[in-house]
Symmetry: C2
Subunit: 705 residues, 2 copies
């Protein structure tokens, strides 16, 4: 892979030039040098600035062209006014890897955007690779190579190496997060800040880390999705490798999107689409910096859960109640313990404790620490438990000893053990820090603990769920020889649906009066009559629909009225005819299925209930097409109106399976014609009683011309 | 107030006895003495334990009766087996204030409950006051008097005094929270742990602190509501005094409630009712420990906001996007700045920054810190801004200087200024700690900052909103001389509704065949006929409803059929007659209004839309009765189905005012008959087009017998 070699070079340069270096180590152009010195970079450092002869004993050259040796990576700290000249010089010097710190590009408006485009064009011509502009740089934590001006580089303690990799579009956020995480003993492999990311972007860096053997947890802060298809590819690969992708996606609100545009000049995609993709492909999402750090902590331990059966053990009843409260809200399953396990716990804890889940071992463990340890061992050995939360408020030596013993047990089992240590640092800090150092996930509060564990369990189960993204192997009706442009209305859409084996009402298109006379006595009444015209999208508005037609006479009347109304409504409409269609009166729930061509992610399939669910509650489920039957069922289940399909208050259960099957078929149709279909809307779809199937009553397709 | 004097004595004893004291300072019975010595308690300490002669040079007596002086507060560290004997001795010694540490009471089952009841009974007889049992004790932070065995007392740094008071049902949670908060420089006045709270409970302690002049922020951790009416009274008082009540209420889930019962033997009330009361009376709720600490931090500063117009200023574009994202989710109003203010900011910040809200001053402030300070000053002086969030990622000396200047500005303005300092402690810790010490609220992440600010703004606006809880002055129909027992069905309920000026359909109860003949020709058709019987609650099931009756003949027929069906359905039913009632066919939204007698809070009023909104979505609004018109409107607005009242997709707006008015009237009816009404359900209520009012079509009342 070519990108891999490029990023390798950025991360491990044998020589670095700083162009526009400053003697003022508190400035953006001075800090990169200071950081290289501080972290004892052992490659060549070349400085370029006509103002100085040397800085800290290192020769300073007037121009990059004066530098004697070859340069792997150039750090560019000049203003945007001088950027093109510097680029030219780097080109002449055959430097292929540039990190551009300066701001003043697309984020400032049209002029900056033009400059940025030119920069990229010239760089590409010369086969140069760029990180930035408007970025803080990167950090190879494994080799302790900082290339940039982040405040987080200014530590004298050295960096903690580990298996977490992070690509951040924002430098301030990315490196602040890194600094905070390091203080919680989270070790990293690499951190990238991509800024305006005109060349290398966040997903490039994430892909590199996904394939890197030392990186096991791949994190990203994204203000825009550089490449939706690539994100999906990475997510699929993440499932294969069992390395989670954790994303903090900004620009969720309308206002946030505006701020994102003025920040790094990026169009933020639709939040709903992103959330759907995350759900479908097992991407873990974080709400804020601390939420992401909490997720890093549990994933870097490298364990996975076999299921969602969680037990909590605490020395405080209040913690138990809290765990119970949050488990319900978060969807963690605090299972009932087996009688056997409860009995075993009872033998260990005081009589006023609770052997039921949430287990309360009481403050007695203050005196007899074995209570804690033995209870944890009992649940570790219970095959009906998948994950364990241990909460303690004990401090000092005792607290530390308990944490040490928990860590000891953690090493002996594949089950995730997560710890809540609630208390002031002065008191419980030792135990907490011990767990952090040995890598057992530990959190200050019950809520944070459970949020993190939920993410781990979700990802574990997602990786094991081979059916979810399985290929249904459907083939979709061919549209060869059929012109796909403009708008298709009811008749054409229904023909396609019929080819997909989706039931449509039986009917005939009456083409003219003669045709009407031929068939009016053989039609099975009652029927509905509807005008068929490519020009009329809103048939009811055009007076083009008549229902409950009982006989030939009424059909004749409705035919005449429909044609008249339609012509009045749209004088130039090309009218194909009038559809006389069987009238379905069976009890049914009304749904819709739609297809949408998304800017970021391509063809999406959307479904929901009709009426107030869509109009008032905006209750829809979205996925990337195609989907499996399992995924289709999950889509339906996530609808707020799902109970209506299951049957509420004595109503019959609806044919959910038939509906799910139709979703799958339409999703394959969407996929096959991806790029061609702009929008499709099948509405309404009637869902009958279980076993009685569905029927699509109307539909429209807008083609991309 | 008597309770005030009692709690005063608990907090400031001149002499303390420890009964069952231990020499082992790591044990529960040893720690209280160690803590008194450590914090240099200057009153008398009397020790009681027949095993010792002295501990740390303090005489140890065999029995409390041997103690020479009088004892203000006794700390009881004996097991539950000896508790009654110790109580007797304390009684003989005339000790009036006891703190009971031991567990083994109601939380363990029936036997413990009986012991606890007996304990309380004996104590009350002797006019003794109890804290606990099953509690850790209390801490008078102002005077540095610890009475208990919390690990948080084992600090050598001394306690930070301040204006936050905290009453916690759980000791482990309460004192852990306290310890964490102290490390963030949050000062306290008092902390109480009430445990099984058989005598003094959390609300008693909160009331004391509410009236205490040094306490400005009143916090509580509650697993149960000891007294719902009292909580409401405290909340009302909190509004008058402008001191917030902040509650962390546990036992929210069904599982949590079970855990709560086994923990401190308390029945947890309905979460929905509690949330409604919190909303209605301006109680601030917290989700977890850190959320409560975040709230303490902003309220202890003592500022309030005049409105919800918020501006954010940051040196990182990512933070600006985050603020925009969260503001939308949380309901904070990131206002557009005036052209004037934007212009002023533009003069200060670099051209690639953003003078629009969220304001991005860029990393340039790293070089020129005046950019930060001047921008903050500009918005402080803008009368169209109510609150300011400042975010910085700067570290070291510069970061600290910026924080110092922000604190300086904070002192000059009444507007809340809240700061986000994102970064590792090593880097940004100095600035953050400075702000904490001088009391400017500061948070690690944008999300936490905004959550806290939202709470402050909500409470500020609530205190200023005098109309919300105003008395409508309605009088309710008298029920004198009417027996209120059993069940009232449609006819009786409608009579009461009519007296409340709530429209009911015009109608007549046909008492018998003779009566039918008299009136059948004068009735204005069409009508609906319904059986009237106290025994028949489900009229439709009994075949007791016929609609669309057009004339006298149809009425006769329906009458006969209804009487026959009803008798068949319920042979012994006492049938009052058949109601022939005008049939209303006007377009309407169907709602219901209910009354419920709540265990914790007394009479609640409930409303919602009918159909799927209640059956599928559980979409209801709840309040304590009575309510003002303002509150009634807020109730309706919080419904997910509210857009249907406003009119969706071209439908007419409904008569929301008439509906709100009916809510108020029914709420006054509920209040007047509080304790008598067990349940009431008016369903359906039709809400017609704006200006056309409402009509109640059916109703039922269940009386408390």
């Amino acid at each position: 892979m070519e990108k891999e070699r490029i990023i390798d070079k950025f991360l491990q340069p044998k020589s670095v030039a700083i162009i526009g270096v400053s003697k003022d180590f508190s400035s953006i152009s001075g800090k990169p040098l200071k950081n290289l010195i501080r972290h004892q970079y052992d490659g060549e450092i070349y400085l370029v600035n006509p103002k100085y002869d040397e800085i800290e004993g290192i020769t300073c050259y007037p121009s990059i062209l004066d530098v004697p040796g070859s340069v792997d990576v150039a750090l560019i700290a000049v203003s945007q006014k001088r950027i093109m000249q510097v680029l030219d010089e780097c080109k002449e010097k055959s430097i292929k890897h540039l990190i551009l710190f300066g701001a003043g590009f697309a984020e400032t408006g049209e002029e900056g955007k033009a400059l940025q485009d030119k920069l990229l064009e010239e760089a590409k011509k010369a086969d140069m690779h760029l990180l930035g502009p408007n970025c803080i740089g990167l950090l190879n934590v494994k080799k302790s190579i900082p290339l940039g001006f982040s405040t987080s580089f200014e530590t004298d303690k050295g960096f903690i190496e580990g298996n977490v990799g992070f690509a951040s579009q924002s430098g301030a956020l990315g490196f602040s997060l890194f600094g905070i995480a390091q203080e919680e003993h989270i070790g990293f492999s690499y951190i990238f800040n991509t800024g305006n990311q005109i060349d290398l972007h966040t997903l490039d860096c994430m892909e590199y880390m996904l394939e890197d053997e030392d990186t096991k947890v791949i994190c990203g802060y994204l203000e825009s999705i550089p490449d939706g298809e690539m994100l999906i590819r990475l997510a699929e690969r993440s499932k294969v490798l069992k390395k989670p992708l954790i994303l903090l996606k900004a620009g969720r609100s309308e206002l946030g999107k505006q701020a994102a545009i003025s920040h790094t000049a990026s169009l933020t995609g639709s939040e709903e689409a992103f959330q759907a993709i995350a759900k479908q492909y097992g991407i873990i999402t974080a709400n804020d910096i601390d939420d992401m750090i909490d997720a890093m902590k549990i994933f870097k331990r490298g364990k996975s859960a076999n299921g969602n059966r969680v037990v909590t053990i605490s020395n405080s009843g209040a913690a138990g109640i809290a765990f119970a409260d949050y488990s319900e809200a978060l969807g963690l399953n605090l299972v009932s313990l087996s009688t056997e396990t409860e009995e075993k716990i009872k033998q260990v804890i005081p009589p006023y404790g609770s052997p039921k889940n949430p287990v309360d071992i009481t403050a007695q463990a203050l005196k007899e620490q074995h209570i804690f340890i033995e209870t944890v061992k009992i649940v570790v050995n219970d095959p009906e438990i998948d994950a364990i939360i241990v909460q303690t408020t004990f401090g000092g030596e005792l607290g530390k000893t308990i944490c040490e013993k928990i860590a000891e047990i953690d090493r002996t089992t594949n089950k995730p053990i997560v710890v809540t240590v609630t208390g002031a640092n002065e008191i419980t800090g030792q135990g907490k820090e011990y767990l952090e150092k040995v890598g057992v996930p530990v959190y200050l509060t019950p809520y944070k603990t459970m949020v993190a564990l939920k993410k781990l369990i979700d990802f574990s189960l997602f990786c094991e769920d081979s059916k979810r993204n399985e290929d249904s192997g459907y083939t979709s009706p061919s549209l060869e020889h059929i012109p796909t442009s403009g708008i298709w209305t009811e008749e054409k859409v229904k023909k396609i649906l019929a080819k997909m084996n989706i039931r449509i009402p039986k009917g005939n298109v009456i083409e003219n009066e003669t045709h009407l006379k031929q068939i009016k006595d053989v039609i099975p009444y009652p029927v509905v009559s509807k005008v068929i015209s490519d020009n009329i999208l809103h048939k009811t508005d055009a007076g083009g629909v008549k229902v409950n037609i009982q006989n030939a006479e009424e059909l004749q009347k409705s035919y005449t009225e429909i044609i008249e109304s339609a012509k009045k409504y749209f004088p130039n409409a090309k009218i194909t005819g009038v559809l006389a269609e069987e009238m379905i009166n069976d009890e049914a729930v009304e749904m819709f299925i739609g297809i949408k061509d998304d800017l970021d992610f391509g063809t999406l399939i959307v479904t929901g209930l009709g009426g107030i669910f869509i109009e008032v509650l905006n209750d829809v489920a979205i996925r990337k097409a195609p989907i499996s039957l399992v995924e289709a069922r999950l889509m339906l289940k996530e609808l707020k109106g799902y109970p209506l399909l299951e049957g509420v208050r004595g109503a019959a259960k609806r044919d959910i399976e038939a509906l799910a099957e139709a979703l799958v078929r339409i999703s394959y149709f969407a996929k096959v014609h991806e790029g061609k279909i702009k929008e499709m809307d099948i509405n309404p779809i009637l869902v009958f009683e279980e076993g009685k199937g569905i029927a699509a009553l109307d539909g429209i397709i807008l083609w991309n011309d």
